[in-house]
Assembly symmetry: C2
């Protein structure tokens, strides 16, 4: 199980099993849902800028992309054992296929980092597909691991 | 109002008024509460390590301190105008005294950054007071701006 609780932050790879041992399941569910709300908060304005519903602002877009990249490293540790029941839409498949679930976060982190790079160019031709890749990461995980 | 919506990220000072205009009040409340849940998620293990309820692990402690520092830059933008009503414990004083409220986040950010530095030393004599300063920042804001 430990391998799923690793997180790379500031170049340091470490095991966060200690936190998990101390965590109450309800706290874990609230935690990960909170981070997902913050995903949405940042994705919304980026999507609106891409669709032309909000004026494009490079600095603003980049801030949201940076926030998303940072946040993308956080939810996985909230999927502690036993947290498939309660006030959650998480499917049991998360725990029975943690390798795939965890790989989905790896992909999201990679795509979010690429979105930051694209945003730094200010070139919408690069930003749009990079944002699309992030959205695809989100959807892929939702389709497989979230209850409707 | 714009001055309250500024955020320094990656050395870039920018105005995030655009996001705020697009945000629904309920989304803003959910967003900031989600970030505060993530505060709690990270503060808990640090407090437990300091109190000896959990074995001290420097890398683990530092990860939580880094996360907290990152997250400390996020909630303020969720306190959009009109979000003092609804499912929130936010007092109206937040908006009538935004300068003080905003300064509280500046202080928290400074204290959280100092906690990361203290954690990097691995010296509990430095970590304890640094953590105490963070906790004091939290409590100060709660006392003044959060309903009981």
């Amino acid at each position: 199980m430990k391998k799923y609780m690793t997180a790379a932050v500031g170049g340091v790879l470490l095991v966060s099993a200690l936190s998990v041992q101390a965590a109450e399941v309800d706290d874990a569910i609230e935690y990960r849902q909170g981070i997902f709300n913050a995903f949405k908060w940042n994705l919304g304005p980026m999507g609106a800028m891409i669709k032309g519903k909000m004026p494009y602002d490079q600095a603003q877009f980049t801030l949201h992309a940076q926030r998303l990249e940072t946040l993308s490293h956080m939810p996985l540790e909230g999927f502690v054992e036993g947290s498939d029941s309660g006030d959650t839409d998480a499917k049991a498949e998360i725990w029975s296929d943690m390798d795939t679930f965890s790989a989905g976060f790896d992909k999201l982190q990679t795509n979010a980092a690429a979105l930051v790079e694209a945003s730094n160019t200010g070139d919408m031709e690069q930003i749009k597909p990079a944002f699309g890749a992030v959205a695809k990461s989100c959807k892929g995980c939702h389709d497989n691991f979230r209850k409707d």
